[in-house]
């Protein structure tokens, strides 16, 4: 396992983490807190959109994000040949 390969692996990981955290932040703090009043003017079914993000949507996105990250990381682990067994 070459050092340079490990560094490239680590950068790929950091890039993926940064993307996921940007989505994490936008959906919870962005849509559910900072922009909640603006989004509340829109509606989805019986929900105001900002309220829906704060009490439902953000949680669904959190779950999806972790599975997405785990799936992409398994791929990256193999690509850089640092996966287990």
């Amino acid at each position: 396992m070459q050092r340079s390969n490990r560094l490239r692996y680590w950068r790929a990981n950091l890039r993926l983490v940064a993307i996921c955290l940007a989505i994490w932040f936008t959906c919870s703090y962005g849509f559910g807190v900072l922009l909640v009043d603006e989004l509340n003017t829109l509606r989805v079914g019986g929900f105001k959109l900002g309220f829906w993000f704060a009490q439902q949507g953000s949680i669904y996105i959190f779950v999806a994000l972790i599975f997405f990250y785990a799936w992409r990381m398994n791929h990256i682990d193999r690509k850089f040949d640092v996966h287990e067994d």
């Binding site: 396992m1 070459q2 050092r3 490990r6 692996y9 680590w10 990981n13 983490v17 996921c20 955290l21 994490w24 919870s28 703090y29 559910g32 807190v33 900072l34 909640v36 009043d37 509340n40 989805v44 079914g45 019986g46 929900f47 105001k48 309220f51 829906w52 704060a54 009490q55 439902q56 953000s58 949680i59 669904y60 959190f62 779950v63 994000l65 972790i66 599975f67 990250y69 785990a70 990381m73 398994n74 682990d77 640092v82 996966h83 287990e84 067994d85």
Partner: protein, 591 residues
């Protein structure tokens, strides 16, 4: 069959199940005891983590709080779920690769310092005992309400059950028991929610019913709720009263605090591989999300049902309010426990429920002949009373009791185990008696767990006034002390011992000082709290619940600055950091 007999049967059967599992999965080594021999599948670990995480507070209190504060309750929903994203992306896989038993052990090795280990143990014990005291109290309350035994007797039964499986089975016993407890608690939570969702909207999925129209009308549930609560002088349900910065900071403190809680982190030490740690965090959050997305639906429907019960007719018309003589039977049962109260202030024999703290509504209330709010409802009863309010069969009510007990016991057991590991592994083996044999360490772990249960039981029996106040502190502390140094230890090789200790102490004392200043914890004798706990006095408008975020930022800044001003960590520590960053083992020659 009477409710009480049914409850005894359901709760008794669930206890028999937990103890049976504990005997089957007895711990034989310290590895089994602390981290279940690293042999737990990611799905089972996810379920156990979910049960461990969801406490009596999530099960019993959260939906009730949301019912009364509406949008502002979102801080708990986002705060107590979003932390798992941080765990999965930033901590869990690396700590699993590190491959040891406890969180202080990681801090000790990464920062090559016994001082850092002791500071981490102190943070851990404080956080865990705060939590455990609340759980034992929850067990006592559920027992006393549903089994109609004394709170003390309920507490002793609960302690005996936890004792059996935590002391005997260690992490292995706890993990498999928690899988069973998760199943009990989630079933108990969702069944009444589904029934109530069908009754109100005709849609069986609570998450959707919450945004549906009320059956037989063209009005959406939330719109109707906004309408009726504002016409009784309350704040609109779907918007908040807290300032944006405060909502932001409380949510962040809860999220980061979740990711810094030792009993949650340690779960990811129990899976076989690094990639299992990542996916396991996903399963944990999926199982948690089932309850957390149901809770706001339960909250809104409970509030709607409650108001409809006491205000069946038009607001302001004399016979629009419920006649006390015609009150439903659940009202009676809960009134006897003192958790629902009626005070007929205007002497009309009817129940008026409205916001009498709203000056804008006072004139209207006066016109109606109302002389103050007459109904008090303890928020903690909403989930427990919900099936009765909705008129569901007795077996559902018995199930809710078993679910509440499962939630409290599973969290208590997980916390007791991290306390016992901190004492036997970090203090006894790590610092005082390094040459201790495995058999004796295992014995020490069991004795520490037994002792922790006794202390927890005492705290639950006679909770000191600070229990409720320090919950904010426990999260703030985890966010401001442990989380930053673990994160920096993985992502920044340059962070050294001096930086980490300075950072932890800064975060800890700043957060502690702020909470002491506004809420008063241990320095009441010296005149604390010194500041009036109102928004005008807060730093940047941030309440003591959210201040851990500022403590966390200070911790990061101090740790980075101090590290750069002092010598870098030794080369073998830098190698260790490189080692934990990749899933596969790196050979010495490749460093």
């Amino acid at each position: 069959m009477s409710l009480q007999v049914l409850t005894y049967i359901v709760v008794g059967a669930s206890f028999a199940l937990y103890i049976g599992i504990a005997i089957w999965s007895r711990a034989h080594s310290t590895g089994d005891f602390y981290i279940a021999g690293k042999g737990v599948s990611p799905v089972a670990n996810g379920m156990a983590t979910a049960a461990d995480w969801m406490s009596a507070a999530s099960f019993i209190s959260m939906a009730g709080i949301i019912a009364f504060i509406g949008y502002d309750g979102s801080v708990y929903l986002m705060g107590w779920t979003g932390g798992y994203v941080l765990l999965a992306l930033l901590l869990a896989p690396y700590l699993r690769k590190f491959g040891k038993f406890t969180v202080p052990e990681f801090i000790a090795e990464r920062y090559y310092s016994k001082t850092a280990r002791i500071v981490a143990v102190i943070c851990l014990i404080f956080i865990s005992f705060t939590y455990v005291a609340g759980q034992m109290r929850g067990v006592g309350i559920v027992f006393s309400r549903f089994l109609e035994v004394d709170v003390t007797v309920g507490l002793i039964i609960g302690m005996a059950v936890v004792f059996t499986y935590a002391v005997l089975g260690g992490m292995k016993g706890i993990t498999y028991t928690q899988v069973a407890q998760y199943c009990v608690l989630i079933f108990a939570y969702t069944v009444p929610a589904i029934f109530i969702a069908i009754q109100i909207t005709g849609n069986p999925i609570p998450q959707l019913a919450f945004g549906s129209e009320i059956a037989g009308t063209g009005t959406a549930l939330l719109d109707k709720l906004d309408d009726i609560v504002t016409s009784l002088g309350f704040h609109e349900y779907t918007t908040g009263t807290k300032s944006t910065i405060d909502v932001f900071c409380i949510t962040m403190a809860l999220m980061v605090g979740t990711a810094g809680l030792p009993h949650v982190i340690v779960r990811f030490f129990t899976v076989p591989r690094v990639r299992d740690a990542r996916i396991s965090a996903g399963y944990a959050l999926l199982f948690i999300a089932i309850l957390y997305t149901t809770a706001p639906a339960v909250g809104s429907m409970a509030r709607y049902n409650l108001i409809n019960t006491v205000q069946p007719g038009e607001i302001g018309v004399a016979d629009g309010n419920l006649d006390y003589e015609e009150r439903p039977s659940w009202f009676d049962t809960w009134e006897q426990t003192g958790l629902v109260g009626f005070d007929d202030r205007n002497g009309d024999g009817r129940i008026q429920y409205y916001n009498d703290n709203n000056p804008a509504f006072a004139e209207k209330a006066f016109e109606f002949g109302w002389q103050g709010n007459e109904l008090t409802v303890d928020r903690d009863i909403m989930v427990l009373a919900n099936p009765e309010i909705a008129g569901l069969p007795n077996w559902v009510i018995a199930l809710v009791a078993a679910g509440g007990i499962a939630a409290a016991l599973s969290t208590a057991a997980g916390l007791l185990l991290v306390i016992s590991a901190a004492v036997s592994h970090d203090l006894i083996k790590g610092i005082f008696v390094p040459q201790i044999s495995e058999a004796r360490e295992l014995l020490a772990g069991r004795v520490a767990a037994a002792f922790a249960i006794l202390v927890a039981g005492y705290l639950g029996f006679d909770p000191p006034g600070w229990v409720a106040q320090v919950v904010a502190f426990a999260f703030g502390l985890a966010a401001a002390s442990l989380f930053p140094v673990i994160l920096l230890g993985i992502f920044f090789k340059r962070i050294n011992k001096e930086g980490a200790i300075a950072g932890m102490l800064t975060g800890l004392f700043f957060t502690y000082g702020y909470i002491e200043f506004f809420k008063g914890l241990f320095l009441k004798w010296a005149g604390a709290p010194w500041g009036e706990n109102v928004a005008a006095n807060w730093l940047f408008g941030i309440s003591p619940e959210g201040i851990g975020v500022i403590g966390m930022c200070l911790n990061f800044v101090v740790a980075l600055v101090v590290s750069h001003l002092t010598a870098p960590p030794p080369i073998e520590i830098q190698h260790m950091v490189e080692q934990i960053r990749v899933p596969r083992h790196i050979n010495e020659g490749d460093m």
